[in-house]
Structure formats: structure tokens, C-alpha cells
């Protein structure tokens, strides 16, 4: 076997083991040591890591049913099987006759999950952790409701049919662009990566108000007020870092950073000391790796970490 293939096989083994539930700190140390041995190891491991994560997108696709049926189908006489498959095909055809209006599609993600969906119009959406949406996408209407969580949109351009996202009492209208909408109960955050979108206040008692925000802008809306941050493509890209399986912070208060971690994990971190919650920090983290984050708080910030069950307390 060639040297490159030998390395690739080793790297694949590391990657598979790292995903196991019993992966330990000792194993992580061993992996780090192996990676530090040579740039060739890093090249092989990082390549697989990246491609394997890209393949996460199959999680959004239902498993093909053909394999399931093939085992019992093979016991039937061939002719019966043919008849059966014709029947199935006919049945499917009937169900798939154009139904109007378009059915509402509902999708959700659990804690720590991400999911990619294709809407029928060529648009694609990617759902972050603990999110729920409904969508109605057909020839005449393109509408998505975010019940909770965070969703990134790549909207197929169609000037005749605006794409509308409802989140709480905000309505975001676009023609074709890339942006994300995050909803935490009554707070709605819209980050625009490309193009521009219009944000309307939909609440009944509010006077008609709307704002157009463009690439690099982040709008944070709560109740009747809406704050638009100054143009910063860097901030928008931090805001969208979850799509690459990472969290990125730039001098944010520890309280906010912890709230982000808590979105992705069953174990919940709590800070009671307001002075600690105000400490600023930055960096790049894997959302699922709470332990590494806690170690960093202990080592670099000298904070005290105590655990009881799923609750983790941070103090000085």
C-alpha cells in the first residue's frame, strides 16, 4: 500500500474512534500527539475530517427504501414481484399527483444536530441545533415559518415570487440571497451574507415599519425595537460559523458565549457572578466539546468549575 493510503487508513481510524461515545481525554491527547508528529498526518486527517463532515448532508435525505423491500421481494415469484412493483408504482403515482395547495412541510432538529433541506423551488436551507420550521413552497408561494432556533437560507432567485420567512412577529422578504434567521422566543436575529432582505414588523398593534438590510448587516429585533449593527462581514461570518461545525467568538461577554454553548448540549453551564459573565473572550470552539471549553476557562481564566449531573457552575 502506498504511504499516502497507509496514512489515510490511519487517519480514518482516528476519525471513527473520535466519534465514539467513549472517546476519552487520553485518546484525544494521543491523537494530538499523532497530529503533531508531522504535517503529513495533519493533511490526511484534516482532509478526511472535512469531507466526512460535508457528507453529513446525507442526514437530510431519507434512506432509499429499495433495500428494505428487496429481501422479501426476492422470495416472491418473479411475475408477482413485477405486478407488486407495478402496483406500488401506480400507488405512488396517485399520491404524487399535484396536490393544491402545496402541503406544509415540517422539520426539526434535536440538540446538537444540523440538517440540510432542499425546498422544491431550488432554494436550500440548513437548520442549526434545536430548531423547528414549517415550509410551504410551491409554484405560487414560498413561505417558511421558524418556530424556534436558527436557519440559514440560500434562496433561489425568482423575482416573480418573493421568498418570505416568518419568525415571531418579524417577516423577512427576499428575492434571492443568502442569510440566516435565528429566533429565541421573542428575539429575532437576521444576518445577511449576500444580497439584501427586507424585515417587517408583523405584530398587529405595530405601525407598519420596515427596514432593508444588506450584506454584512445583522438586525436584532425584540418587541417593537430593532437594532441594526454596523456593516461587518466578519461578524456575519462569525454568526454563520455553525454551518462549519464551529462556534466563533470575538471579544464577547462570557455570559453570551456560555448561552451559545448551552444551545448545543444537554449539560447546561451557569454563571451567577455578573462580573464573571462580563469577562470578554474570543476563540474558535467545537460546540459539542464542552469539556475542552471548561478546561480553557480553568486554565486560561483561572475560573472554578463544579459539576453536579447535567449542571455545571462557573465561579471565581
Amino acid at each position: 500500500m502506498s504511504e499516502a493510503r497507509r496514512l489515510e487508513a490511519l487517519a480514518a481510524q482516528w476519525l471513527v474512534r473520535r466519534e465514539e461515545p467513549d472517546w476519552s481525554q487520553r485518546q484525544q491527547d494521543e491523537l494530538n500527539a499523532w497530529l503533531d508528529e508531522s504535517m503529513a498526518h495533519k493533511a490526511a486527517f484534516w482532509r478526511l475530517e472535512h469531507g466526512w463532515r460535508e457528507a453529513d448532508r446525507i442526514a437530510a435525505v431519507a434512506p432509499p427504501p429499495s433495500r428494505r423491500t428487496s429481501s422479501w421481494m426476492s422470495y416472491l415469484p418473479r411475475l408477482t414481484a413485477l405486478a407488486a412493483s407495478l402496483l406500488i408504482a401506480a400507488g405512488l403515482g396517485f399520491i404524487m399527483l399535484p396536490a393544491r395547495p402545496q402541503p406544509v412541510l415540517a422539520a426539526k432538529t434535536d440538540i446538537g444536530q444540523r440538517r440540510l433541506l432542499e425546498l422544491g423551488d431550488g432554494s436550500r436551507i440548513e437548520m442549526n441545533t434545536r430548531s423547528a420550521i414549517r415550509a410551504q413552497v410551491g409554484r405560487d408561494e414560498r413561505e417558511v415559518w421558524i418556530d424556534k432556533g436558527e436557519v440559514y437560507f440560500e434562496v433561489f432567485h425568482d423575482s416573480g415570487h418573493p421568498f418570505v420567512v416568518h419568525a415571531g412577529d418579524r417577516r423577512v422578504t427576499v428575492l434571492g440571497t443568502k442569510f440566516s434567521v435565528r429566533r429565541d422566543r421573542d428575539r429575532v436575529i437576521v444576518s445577511v451574507a449576500e444580497g439584501k432582505v427586507r424585515v417587517d414588523d408583523e405584530s398587529a398593534d405595530a405601525p407598519a415599519r420596515q427596514s432593508v438590510i444588506t450584506a454584512g448587516d445583522i438586525a436584532i429585533a425584540r418587541g417593537a425595537s430593532m437594532l441594526i449593527t454596523q456593516k461587518s462581514e466578519e461578524k456575519v461570518s462569525d454568526q454563520l460559523a455553525w454551518r462549519n461545525g464551529i462556534l466563533r467568538f470575538d471579544q464577547q461577554p462570557l455570559g453570551e458565549v456560555i448561552a451559545e454553548f448551552n444551545r448545543y448540549n444537554l449539560s447546561q453551564i451557569a454563571v451567577s457572578d455578573p462580573a464573571v459573565a462580563q469577562m470578554r473572550m474570543g476563540g474558535v470552539f467545537q460546540p459539542g466539546n464542552v469539556d475542552a471549553f471548561l478546561r480553557l476557562l480553568e486554565d486560561a481564566y483561572g475560573l472554578h468549575v463544579s459539576r453536579s449531573g447535567e449542571t455545571i457552575k462557573i465561579s471565581r
Binding site: M1, S2, E3, A4, R5, L7, E8, A9, A12, Q13, L15, V16, E19, E20, P21, S38, M39, A40, K42, A43, A44, W46, R47, L48, E49, H50, G51, W52, E54, A55, D56, R57, I58, A59, A60, V61, P63, P64, R67, L116, E118, R124, E234, N244, R248, D250, Q251, M281, G282, G283, V284, F285, Q286, A292, F293, L296, A300
Partner: protein, 204 residues
């Protein structure tokens, strides 16, 4: 991988390990299809392609520690050219195409842009297609892992096979699927593939 100082965009600063990691995955790997095609076209023996690709990545990472390449595509092709020339010199191969193509590096670097974008937009379909290419048993193991989120132990119990069998199928499937996701053929390569080297012509 974890650090506390401010994280800059990779175009701005010197590379620490986390930046290097990110730069490699975001800026280098999306060019794999182009890189592999370039190697294939300029090297007579297709059995060497994986080794050469790995060499290019290793040197790209080493070089990027010191100075950050602004145009990853041209940077990769330059490294690939040097590696090919060195190998050719050692193997005493002279390929006319190699020399000719090298003068068109810039053109190549630009020309593949549209294609890369297309691949990125199509990742979902690619993931499905890549999965379908795997042999049935391997595909089932990958599917249980990716879709059902099962651990190796759970997959082994579910399929009634040994832990090592699952791990082996999973690593083989992972390597083939990754290859496909990055623009390759997504074929499973088992370890005994030491076919006598084919001497193909140096052009397509």
C-alpha cells in the same frame, strides 16, 4: 485546536494551528478536483496520484505556516508542478505536456472557478450519489452511522457482526465517500491494490 486570542481571517495574519486547520479546509480542499485533474494529466502513472496529492497538501501546509498564500489555487498548482518536476527528474521522465501545462497555471487557476462553485452547490446530491456508490454492506454501515447516529458498538449489535468488521467497513466507506465529496471517483481501495504500474500516455 483551542486558543483564546482573537481569530483573524486567514488572509491577514500568520498561521497558528487553528488558522492553518481552517484555511486548509476552507480554501485548499475545495480545489481537490482541480488538483487531481492537473496531476492526472501531467503524470503517466495513475497509481501515484494519491501519493502526489498527499505530498502537495503536506508541502502546502508547511509553506503556509510561514507566509499566507493569497490565491490558494495558483499556490497548489505551483507546488504540484514542483513536485511533479522533481519526481520526473528522479524517474527520468520527460513529458512534453508537463512543460506546456505549467505555463498555463494562471489560466487554469482562473478557469476552474465556475466548476468549483457548481460542486459546492451540489453537495447534497453528491453525498447521496457517493453513498449509493458504496458496496451494500459498507453503505449500510455508513448509513447507520450518519443517519441513525449509531456508535460502532451499536452498529455491530444491529448487524450482528464484529466490532472490527464495522470499523473496517466504516473507515473504507469514509475514505471512499470523502474522496467522492471532494470531487473524486469515490471508489473503495483495498490495501492489496499493487497493480503493476500502467504506463499511460502523458495526455488525456
Amino acid at each position: 485546536m483551542f486558543y483564546i486570542n482573537e481569530v483573524g481571517r486567514w488572509t491577514q495574519r500568520t498561521m497558528n494551528d487553528a488558522n492553518l486547520h481552517r484555511w486548509f479546509q476552507e480554501a485548499v480542499l475545495p480545489n481537490e478536483a482541480m488538483l487531481v485533474r492537473f496531476i492526472r494529466r501531467n503524470w503517466p502513472n495513475s497509481d501515484d496520484v494519491v501519493d502526489i496529492r498527499q505530498d502537495v497538501y503536506e508541502h502546502a501546509l508547511i509553506g503556509a505556516q510561514r507566509a499566507i498564500p493569497v490565491t490558494p489555487r495558483a499556490y497548489l498548482l505551483t507546488i504540484a508542478r514542483n513536485i511533479l518536476l522533481n519526481r520526473a527528474r528522479r524517474a527520468k521522465i520527460v513529458s512534453f505536456d508537463l512543460v506546456a501545462d505549467l505555463e498555463e497555471l494562471d489560466y487554469l487557476a482562473e478557469g476552474y472557478d465556475a466548476e468549483n462553485t457548481l460542486v459546492a452547490r451540489d453537495q447534497l446530491r453528491r453525498a447521496e450519489a457517493g453513498l449509493d456508490l458504496l458496496p451494500p454492506r459498507c453503505r449500510e454501515v455508513v448509513r447507520l452511522r450518519k443517519l441513525e447516529g449509531m456508535s460502532t458498538r451499536e452498529v455491530a449489535a444491529h448487524l450482528g457482526v464484529g466490532h472490527h468488521t464495522v470499523e473496517r467497513q466504516l473507515t473504507l466507506g469514509m475514505r471512499a465517500l470523502v474522496d467522492f465529496m471532494l470531487g473524486g471517483e469515490g471508489r473503495i481501495v483495498r490495501k492489496t491494490a499493487t497493480v503493476p504500474p500502467r504506463q499511460e500516455a502523458g495526455h488525456e
